[in-house]
Symmetry: C2
Subunit: 334 residues, 2 copies
Amino acid sequence: MATIYEVSKLAGVSLATVSRVMNNNARVSDKTKQKVLDAMAELGYRPNSIARSLASSRSDSIGILVSELHGPFFGQMMAGIESELRAAGKHVIITTGHSEEDKEKDGIEFLISRNCDAIIAHVEAVSDEYLIELNEGKTPVYLMSRFVEELSEKCISLDNELGGYLATKAIIDNGHQKIAYIAGPQFKADASNRLLGHKRALKESNIEFNEDLFFIGDFKETGGSDGLRYLTKQNEQFTALVCANDEMASGAMKYAREHGFRLPEGLSIIGFDNVIFANYLYPTLTTIDNPVNSMGHMAAKLVLKDVYQKKKLEIERVFEPTLINRHSVANHNN
Amino acid sequence: MATIYEVSKLAGVSLATVSRVMNNNARVSDKTKQKVLDAMAELGYRPNSIARSLASSRSDSIGILVSELHGPFFGQMMAGIESELRAAGKHVIITTGHSEEDKEKDGIEFLISRNCDAIIAHVEAVSDEYLIELNEGKTPVYLMSRFVEELSEKCISLDNELGGYLATKAIIDNGHQKIAYIAGPQFKADASNRLLGHKRALKESNIEFNEDLFFIGDFKETGGSDGLRYLTKQNEQFTALVCANDEMASGAMKYAREHGFRLPEGLSIIGFDNVIFANYLYPTLTTIDNPVNSMGHMAAKLVLKDVYQKKKLEIERVFEPTLINRHSVANHNN
DNA sequence: TTGAAACTTCGTAAATGGTGGCCATTAATT
DNA sequence: AATTAATGGCCACCATTTACGAAGTTTCAA
């Protein structure tokens, strides 16, 4: 690969001038500029971004840490971040944390060691303290779907409590009283906040929270099927099932259909997240919209504003979930 | 952040010795080694992988280029690659090409400029010639889901023609004769090969390919719904619809249900890819399994073998698709 | 017992491919 | 002639790797 040195030689200018042309941060006459560009083209020169980054301690790349690379949730999130940043000429370096503390830390340290200009992380296993300390380092860290008081300026989050409330409220408004709940892993803040919202909605309608109608799943399809199997064995009737995410809802729907429930007449189900395929399930899934893609865009904008000094960007840090009515909830009123 | 220099000072040894301890590629006495390790721990030292990469022109990271970050297909692919590489202590840098030539090239050049030790790319828009030339550079490039004769050693691909054949064959075996086809964008090799397979199956059963029962979609849900709308307006009867991927199949199913088709009695639909949610559609989607996750693992193994000299890995370069029978195809025999 | 060969262990310094500050030089403008 | 714009030339610097070679230590045959 050609180096800047060869370019300068071919163009008959100095190293500094080539660097100036590349970064166009200093005045260079059009004529010399053209000579340099021609030389670059002729040599097929591509700046070595590693060397560049080492010398300037910038990298024009942003690290992203997600729990998993697959699944509709993270896909939408990454896509949102990437498209916004790419439009601004920045690149993205993605790695995973698998919701395990060690791996999350490892991933973050990798991103830091790659001189990322900023990190956007969706972390679930590391502590708030760790994140606070991390933020004192030279690489700013932004958090997706997590709210840490001390870092409130750097969090893009969803009001999960409100979402949990809206889901259960929608069920209650349709006349249900016996309501089961399949939660997500409680160490995840999203999951525990959704549960809080669920409890608030119950309380507001004077429905008692019933431990026998409660199951903690894994946020995957199996969590939904396992959960529903467990719940049906508790000798407690219920007409509706609130699932803490759509994947568990789809698992529950499948299990329900295979075990003779009529949907939604026999069992109403509501999900959370409004992932793409919620609209393709049968019956189409009533759920709570989680605007992850927009949140990804917003996180990227926040980085552009803070780190790259793009001034006039409007930042919105807390997103509100909304109810998406489809056909998986039956009306039991009248 | 502490540097190697500070570590060497604290440990009372030279820079080189610290480097040796880090890479343990040269003999260092246990005593000095311990001193160095202690100093590292005390300073919380983390090697700067950028500097390291510049000096050694290795990076222990592999570039991945996918078309999109979202969607079940790429998610599974990335996850497969990443988990295999991570287990080997390598990191992954992901970027996107959006199926556009410029962006794909840009992405590849970014990865090269980041000193990736290898690139695993799922590219659709760039030409074979470009890829061949690319491979003469110092960064080896591996191709996912694409077969280029000259680079056959570096391609992990699916026999899409066979898959296309199997799908249509399955439909024909169920007694269908009037078969519509919604293809993917024909500049994508996957899509055009699947179509070839479809035509082969038709020919084998002496069914003529009918232009009025053919639509080119975008590989997304809209492609399926738009396609089915178009097809129903052609005044040609058909009892089965072959879709070149599951997402279009789901779009078609939705459109069909909304327009009064009974599934699968009124219209049989088969997909391709066997993405996660195919199993959650209603009716569950009969489709062709595309083992992307395994292919991702295999691509990673290939890199480990070629680039990092892990010898005893078994490599399988061409994967065979298989038919997954579920409930979206009705039997019209007898 | 001894001394040279062989091997360990570790330091020095160059190299990696750029950035960016400073000052000097040259050319164009006023 | 003085000012200003457009370069060139130099050099320190970024954090690390790695050839080279200099000590120090072992081994072993004479």
